[in-house]
């Protein structure tokens, strides 16, 4: 049994079905890939070099963007992939709209 499952021909990552130790050689079709670092079971391995800023492809679709160059055989996870969705942390902070609100009086006038 191949310890790495690849879903689509377009994918540049595969999923480890068992923990892969560095130095182990896995195959994708005819290509041999040397595992560069420990990859836990269920985590992803780069099947080819992925340039910083390039899409990480699984299921034939982008699952995010590489945040640094990823070598073939490297562990691909949250440390080197960024999501493009739901990133409120990157959105510029906007002022809360004040339209329609009644301004609160300053404290010193509240009981006047």
């Amino acid at each position: 049994m191949n310890p790495v499952i690849v879903i689509s021909v377009a994918d540049n990552v595969g999923t480890a079905l068992e923990t892969l130790e560095p130095g182990r050689v896995v195959t994708r079709d005819a290509a041999a890939i040397t595992v560069r670092e420990r990859i836990p079971r269920g985590h992803k391995i780069a099947l080819a070099a992925i340039a910083a800023g390039a899409p990480v492809i699984k299921y034939g679709n982008s699952i995010g963007t590489a945040t640094s160059e990823i070598a073939a055989g490297a562990h691909v996870h949250t440390h080197n992939v960024s999501s493009a969705r739901g990133r409120g942390d990157l959105a510029s902070r906007r002022e809360v709209p004040q339209d329609g609100r009644i301004a609160e009086p300053p404290d010193d006038r509240r009981n006047a």
Binding site: I5, T15, L17, K58, I63, H77, S83, A84, G86, R93
Partner: protein, 390 residues
């Protein structure tokens, strides 16, 4: 080969049930304990909908609460309805009873304040519930066409096996059910984010695709408005430990369970009635219990719930079938798992064979076979709310 059938309960309104419950519905949180005690007296045929809403709610949330409770009262898995009211709440007990009667079911109301306290209310309601249960025990199951089934497809506690084995197997079941004239419903809008282009491409027209994209954009905007990175919530910490890196990856794996080719027939609001054949997307959050609550409210009579890490979630009126593609979870959480499809990943079983086993199990469960959640009494119920309680 003749079309497969299951043994179900035909209801006066033409819908078909897979269970035959006496549903004890509290109008408001204040009546929830009484409702639970009454249902427990006639369990397992008696089942309650304890909830935390029903009063202090602003307009839109009030409607969602009312519509969800009313949907359960009219649901085909319910044979009779007993509403437990307090007396001063927002939810109108009479409207819930009317929803049951409109579907041809007997319905009664017991109000705690007018009954003279919880002791008297519990006693009278229990006696009504016992009579209802005795009547329902005589309802026969009959052979019903699978086209009357609405299957809720759900995943929770996902890991790498979900997108590789259990969700694709469930997707084949959804495709087959739709081929046979049935329906499937997929919720969890946040977990479609990143895969919406695949579902939108299956819409019959731009209008339906547009409705899907609008709900997804709304959910993403709500998350963005808080100024937070959605990661850590979606995927969850457990998902990330399990190998899922981004919401796009989780979504691409998750949407497999809605089938590969079923047309996207409709997009409905939370607990909104599912009326079209094919795949319906419902506007639910990803939180498991709220999501299952909504999809069953929409009319699903059976839920198939895939899990990688294992989870107990059930439902008060619909059987929930748990399947996993993770062999370790199948062994370590055997009490909670109905079907193990981990053979798909180590070549012990083909995906088609796993899907065939699951399809057969759906029909067996629809015909009355007990699921792990039913055996263990997991009957969680939670109504989605979007606004503060005031």
């Amino acid at each position: 080969m003749s079309a497969p059938v299951f043994q179900g309960y035909r209801r006066p309104d033409g819908r078909v049930g897979t269970r035959n419950h006496v549903l004890v519905v509290p109008t408001v949180i204040c009546a929830s304990v009484v409702a639970e005690r009454v249902a427990a007296a006639v369990a397992p045929i008696g089942t309650a909908l304890p909830h935390t809403a029903g009063c202090g709610q602003l307009g839109p949330d009030m409607h969602v609460t009312h519509d969800t409770l009313a949907a359960y009262c009219g649901h085909p898995n319910v044979g009779a309805v007993l509403v437990i009211a307090l007396g001063c709440e927002q939810v109108v007990a009479q409207r819930l009873a009317e929803a049951a009667r409109a579907a041809g079911k007997p319905a009664e109301i017991v109000a705690i304040q007018s009954e003279g306290g919880t002791v008297r209310a519990t006693a009278r309601a229990t006696s009504i519930a016992r009579a209802m249960a005795a009547d329902l025990a005589r309802t026969p199951r009959e052979a019903c066409d699978v086209s009357s089934l609405i299957l809720s497809v759900k995943c929770g506690g996902s890991d790498y096996t979900s997108g590789l084995a259990s969700n694709p197997a469930l997707g084949l079941v959804a495709d087959r059910l739709v081929d046979l004239g049935g329906s499937a419903v997929l919720g969890e809008i946040a977990e479609i984010m990143g895969a919406e282009h695949l579902l939108a491409a299956r819409a019959p027209n731009a209008e339906t695709a547009g409705r899907l994209l609008r709900v997804i954009n709304r959910v993403e905007s709500e998350a963005m408005a808080l100024g937070l990175d959605i990661r850590g919530t979606q995927p969850s910490p457990g998902n990330i430990r399990g190998g899922l890196t981004t919401i796009e990856e989780k979504s691409l794996g998750a949407t497999h369970k809605g089938g590969e080719r079923t047309p996207l027939a409709d997009v409905v609001p939370y607990a909104g009635r599912i009326t079209r054949k094919g795949l319906t997307v419902m506007d639910t959050p990803g939180l498991d219990v709220e999501s299952v609550t909504g999809m069953v409210g929409g009319g699903a009579q059976v839920v198939v719930f895939t899990t990688g890490l294992g989870t107990p979630t059930g439902n008060p009126i619909a059987p929930v079938i748990k399947i996993t593609g993770n062999a370790r979870t199948a062994a370590s959480m055997a009490d909670n798992i109905d079907l193990d499809v981990s053979g798909v990943l180590d070549d012990r079983e083909t995906l088609d064979a796993a899907a065939a086993r699951l399809f057969d199990d759906v029909l067996a469960v629809a015909s009355g076979k007990e699921t792990a959640t039913e055996r263990l009494g997991f009957r969680e119920f939670a109504i989605h709310r979007r606004n503060p309680t005031i």
